[in-house]
Subunit: 484 residues, 2 copies
């Protein structure tokens, strides 16, 4: 019990103690059943006589706000505050406030669509948490705690720790990324990696080019850095380099599995993008989103590993390959940027959770990550095969966008008169959650479609879910699409 | 083994496989002892004949880069790369890079002073990790993982989760902070809380007033947001409100235990500061730094709880009361700011580590935090008493700054001709780490002094350490102080 009582002057101290305790009970800071300090204890801590405190307690006991339990102490009486009042005061907010945030923060972004209690869940960007080797992870976390190494790992003189070394090795072996531990900055997920990049590179008004349709959370992030965000079209080979704005300082791309269309950026397009960046003195942020789960055999090398100029910042995360709730990602910058990225991380949030970082380093070093990805790929491949087979039966309505990796498959609606949000709403009413494509557009004319994630749905359920979708698609069109 | 091999065209596939494996070994992506895929496996995944892969492996076996172990598979031969070359290539960095960060990130801030292997450690701002109830924490973390609730806690419609509720309750009971769960934004430590505040409130060029001497990491943070940071003098009552710049948009203060002097802001000064903020339409950021460990009995109420206008953002953390490596802090804003703070958190790094957050909510709800603070306060009080007694014996040289809370005691050097950094250096050579006061100044004329933390030193060691300090202080002055 760490109750805050403030005595001022030498007036009626009993009254002050009484009033403050009473207030604490009435406004919900003390709840029914909470033990209050013994009179002796409170008197000693306030440097008043015990009688002063006892007198205050007596009043509260008399009011039945406190109750005494023989041998156990004094407690706030359960039910002493009428529920109505309690609800009001417990919900009491801080003062409304006279200060307002900057303009860019005044209109919050739309909340993400959530599956709610849909029976069939095709959420995009969510891995299947049940595949996560929880027992192994628990053992490793427990070991990291048992060793009692509660301070962050010792950093070498250049600032890189053990996890950074393991990440460099992992990215090098599995993705041909050229990096040593010194090049890796560990972050709270890919989103914080993007934030650090924006922070160290962007001046207000700088132009940032993003894929359109694209990952709207990244676009929003760049906007909050006062960048001018421009949407650039995406075709079957990825971002259309010819249409990039000449003045872009930074271009954000997802080459392995374009978010949301799933297209892999072609080799020719990769080379064109690198050449464009050199010509325009721009920086490429390569978010190697969804690259862990590959279903074809010859993945293209990341931009980072074919970049000879040091213009690429490579961003990765363990949110898909392990769990989003771990919040571990990383940025691998050219040497000219890494010290700034590392300092931005330190200045804005110091290091991450040391125990999680240590556990993840062990998890990588002991080979559990590679084994998990291999096992999970097998499961996701089976779901994906079932999904693709089912979508083939919906070919009349849906055009599947070819992709070779990642946890979701994107489709376009063949009938350009249909509205994907209407369809998503109708099919949700039938118990199936799918994500419409059009809200992922920024400024390009919206192509309508549906995206199907395989992290939240089990094998065997997919056919049933698609049958429900078929019913919605084959129903007479009820609401004509209205383009904004 | 998740090795990245890319085959292009239909040329000599064996040569391509060979060259890429060899490169991976030579530049350290594959290390001695690593297992390479079985020929059958790699052939299947590359969709080439098994003979193609076998031929490539044969070359590498012949070169003794690989070795075959009967029944176990094929491995990179240990020691196959000469150590000199291996060291070079393993240290290989990404390309130097053609891109540079913004000006504010080009000159990194000075690295923090560290105790190294000093025998006696008076580090400031570091709790004693050995006091942390590790067994309880491990049990709670393990429970949070065992329950398998691996997704973040469900948020209610206003965005606040269970930890936010527990923090509101804790801050309300122990610090009289007026807040409901909806007002609390959980962050990665106090530093991220400050970052979110800066992000949603500051426009480039805005004036931010900070205490001088003060918490330099906060000043640096505001600078990186392109604010104009102004240092405001501190006296025995805290920040000198009369000298605040008229144009300040935001003022950052540490009223409970001013960092670094340890002064508690007087009630009169608190009221004057609130009035100033109303008059100037400014925001007060109250970092309730080091308020958990109190050694006097009547702490003043936080600015947040006497603010009637909603001009205070209250910032707290569990870095001192539990462990810095947990990285959990919080911001409690007026209702006009909280939605923006919450979105800034979401946009820049989503939620924090869900398991740590859930464990901390349990830890608070089950009363372990309050019990730990009580026990730790007892330990720190004994160390502090020994420190104050020892410092009384150094009164000839050091003037103790009165303080009532917190994990360190600050002193001023009575002889204004002495340089605190020189003394800190000399005493470190004798095995005692103390922190000089002058580097904590921003623009005010530096007052020299020494700060003594009690988190890193044990009872019984303090007297010995101060005896070593006495020798340095009583030595004939060698280097006269030169003010810059």
């Amino acid at each position: 019990m760490d109750l805050h009582v403030t005595l001022t002057g030498s007036g009626d101290l009993t009254a002050q103690i009484y009033a403050q305790l009473r207030e604490a009970v009435l406004d919900g800071r003390l709840a029914g059943g909470d033990r209050v300090p013994a009179t002796r204890e409170l008197a000693a801590s306030l440097r008043v006589s015990r009688g002063t405190v006892t007198a205050a307690y007596d009043r509260l006991l008399a009011e039945e706000l406190l109750e005494s339990r023989r041998g156990a102490g004094t407690f706030v009486a359960p039910g002493c505050v009428p529920p109505a009042r309690s609800a009001t005061v417990r919900g009491r907010r801080t003062r409304p406030g006279a200060v307002t945030p900057s303009a860019v923060w005044r209109s919050p972004s739309a909340p993400p669509r959530v599956p709610g209690d849909a029976a069939y869940d095709f959420s995009v960007g969510v891995p299947d948490a049940s595949l996560f080797p929880l027992a192994t992870w628990r053992r490793i976390v427990s070991g990291a705690l048992r060793r009692g190494r509660l301070a962050p790992d010792t950093y070498d003189e250049r600032g890189a720790g053990r996890l950074e070394g393991e990440i460099a090795r992992y990215a090098g072996v599995s993705r041909s990324v050229v990096a040593s531990a010194d090049d890796v900055v560990t972050t709270a997920g890919a989103q914080q990696a993007l934030d650090l990049v924006a922070r160290v590179l962007l001046e207000p008004g700088d132009v940032v080019a993003v894929e359109d349709p694209g990952y709207t959370a990244a676009a929003r992030l760049f906007t909050t850095h006062r960048a001018t965000v421009r949407g650039v079209p995406v075709d079957g080979e990825g971002i259309v380099v010819d249409t990039l704005p000449d003045t872009a300082r930074l271009v954000y791309v997802t080459p392995s599995h374009q978010h949301p269309t799933g297209v892999a950026m072609s080799r020719a397009r990769r080379i064109a993008l690198l050449e464009w960046a050199v010509r325009r003195d721009a920086v490429i942020v390569e978010d190697d989103y969804d690259s862990e789960f590959r279903f074809a055999d010859r993945p293209l090398e990341p931009l980072q590993s074919i970049d000879r100029e040091g213009r690429v910042v490579y961003v990765g995360s363990f949110s898909k390959s392990l769990l989003p709730s771990l919040r571990v990602g990383y940025a691998i910058g050219p040497a000219s940027l890494t010290p700034a990225l590392r300092e931005a991380k330190r200045v804005t949030s110091w290091d991450g959770d040391a125990v999680t970082q240590r556990a993840l380093a062990d998890f990588l070093a002991e080979g559990h990550h590679a084994a998990h990805v291999k096992r999970a790929t097998k499961v996701y491949r089976a779901r994906r095969d079932e999904l693709l087979e089912g979508l083939a039966g919906l070919d009349e309505w849906l055009e599947v966008v070819p992709s070779a990796a990642g946890l979701h498959v994107c489709t376009f609606l063949r009938d350009r008169g249909l509205d994907d949000q209407t369809i998503a709403g109708d099919v949700l009413a039938a118990g199936v959650f799918v994500e419409p494509l059009s809200p992922r557009h920024l400024e390009q004319p919206a192509r309508h479609g549906l995206a199907f994630g395989v992290g939240g749905i089990r094998e065997g359920e997919i056919g049933t879910a698609l049958a429900l979708l078929r019913r919605v698609l084959s129903a007479p069109r009820r609401r004509p699409r209205v383009d904004g």
